[in-house]
């Protein structure tokens, strides 16, 4: 099989990740942070090492890394746990439903107002100008929530520039790093990010069920917990402990997933984010250029800074039909809206086929995919 659905979850995983899963099943057998026996201590230390590694990767302190089951959980805590009544929230049309649905919910409840930045030209200058103009207006935004990299287009948004503006204007800044981390190393301090949320199983190569939320050292609003329960400490208190990460980590941690994430982070660090980005950009270029010369194929491809993802449709075919036909060629792609409906409205599609590569994909695989799509367009 040629796997090009890495935007949903990455495959294959590095061998080190597979080994880490096995090692965790055999060696991290106890519940961390509860008992003080040897096995519990060993497991707690293993989790702590991953916490340190994640903190180092995004430049914060280990206690500001809260492990979650996925990016959606991290974003829900980051948004429901920090946004206040009266907040004016700005986001983009390129967001995933893990951002949009929490915001829609709070908008419907009357807790926040919601508006969208201009990304229509794919030009970061236009986006930043739009943000600055809104900050000069009467209804100044108090919060910006933005994806680092679009899961539909692979387009990188100017997080560092937006973060600098937010820092200067004291605007709370939350970033969804799910599609960006791995091909980018996001420094929350340098980018002026208050909270960074990510899955662990995409560009960081952990297993499904892993993710984390990172608070910057200067985070202007620390999240209130959404999940309440046991933490192994202060058990007589009716509320969650004050200290992080325990305040946000009720219940038993997913130790195996955390260990896989640690191995994935180590792998990405050893290969280098720049090298990963360079490879996925070159594969994306092969696919984009190859698709653009196949009659009957429409490619949605901004020429701006994009990685990993190519979006297309074949004239006269539903996107899911095309994805299904590709499956017949043993090629894994994804048709539909990719949980980002506004991005597709913005592109004026009813859905499209997404090819999302990782740095494990090859040029030969790209040529095979192009050949299969060519066959499909000719009705073969």
């Amino acid at each position: 099989m040629i796997y090009m659905d890495n935007g949903a979850t990455s495959y294959p995983k590095p061998e080190a990740v597979t080994l880490a899963v096995k090692r965790a099943l055999d060696g991290c057998i106890a519940n961390p942070g509860r008992a003080s026996h040897r096995e519990a201590s060993r497991t707690a230390m293993a989790v702590f090492r991953v916490r340190e590694r994640a903190a180092d990767f995004v430049n914060t302190e280990p206690e500001y890394i809260s492990f979650t089951h996925n990016a959606t959980m991290a974003l829900n805590v980051a948004l429901f746990g920090t946004l206040r009544k009266g907040d004016r929230v700005l986001t983009t049309p390129l967001e995933h439903n893990s951002v949009l649905r929490p915001l829609y919910r709070m908008e419907r409840e009357g807790r926040i107002t919601l508006d969208f930045l201009d990304v229509s030209t794919y030009d970061e200058n236009v986006l930043c100008k739009d943000l600055l103009e809104r900050l000069e207006g009467d209804e100044k935004p108090t919060v910006v929530v933005m994806t680092h990299t679009s899961n539909v287009l692979g387009l990188r948004l100017p997080v560092e520039r937006v973060g600098a503006i937010c820092k200067d204007k004291n605007v709370f800044f939350v970033v969804d790093g799910s599609q960006g981390l791995g091909s980018s190393r996001i420094d929350v301090e340098a980018c002026g990010i208050d909270i960074l949320c990510t899955s662990g199983h995409k560009g960081l190569y952990g297993i499904t069920g892993s993710g984390f939320m990172a608070l910057s050292r200067k985070c202007r609003r620390k999240p209130e917990p959404l999940i309440f329960g046991g933490t192994g400490i202060a058990s007589r208190e009716k509320g969650m402990p004050d200290g992080y990460p325990e305040r946000l980590e009720a219940g038993t941690l997913g130790v195996v997933g955390i260990e896989s994430l640690g191995a994935g982070l180590e792998y990405v660090t050893s290969v280098g984010c720049d090298a990963i980005a360079e490879k996925t950009k070159s594969l994306r270029k092969i696919l984009t250029e190859g698709l653009s010369v196949i009659p009957g194929v429409r490619v949605y491809a901004p020429e701006s800074d994009s990685v990993s993802i190519v979006l297309f449709n074949i004239e006269g075919r539903q996107c899911d039909e095309t994805a299904s036909l590709l499956d017949g060629f043993d090629i894994a792609s994804r048709g539909g809206l990719h949980c980002s409906p506004l991005a597709h409205s913005f592109l004026n599609t009813d859905g499209a086929v997404r090819l999302s590569v990782s740095h494990f994909n090859t040029e030969a695989e790209c040529q095979t995919v192009l050949s299969a799509i060519s066959h499909i367009t000719r009705g073969l």
Partner: protein
């Protein structure tokens, strides 16, 4: 000269205790991560031997560990 003693420093959660252990080890200070019961419930911290409590607490505080 401050008395050298054996003592427990309460740090809250396991993460802070492990962070303290890492720092103290770097400084050559022997300690063990351990847990004990307090009125609010269990608490994690470090058990330190043969050091002056005041200097260890100062070191941890200077590094922002445990909110102490």
């Amino acid at each position: 000269m401050a008395n050298k003693e054996s003592f427990f420093i309460s740090l809250g959660g396991m993460t802070q205790a492990l962070k303290a252990e890492r720092l103290l080890a770097e400084k050559g200070i022997e300690c063990t991560v351990s847990k004990r019961s307090e009125p609010s419930g269990c608490v994690w911290g470090v058990y330190v031997k043969g050091e002056a409590r005041v200097s260890v607490v100062s070191l941890l505080r200077a590094n922002g560990i445990g909110g102490i």
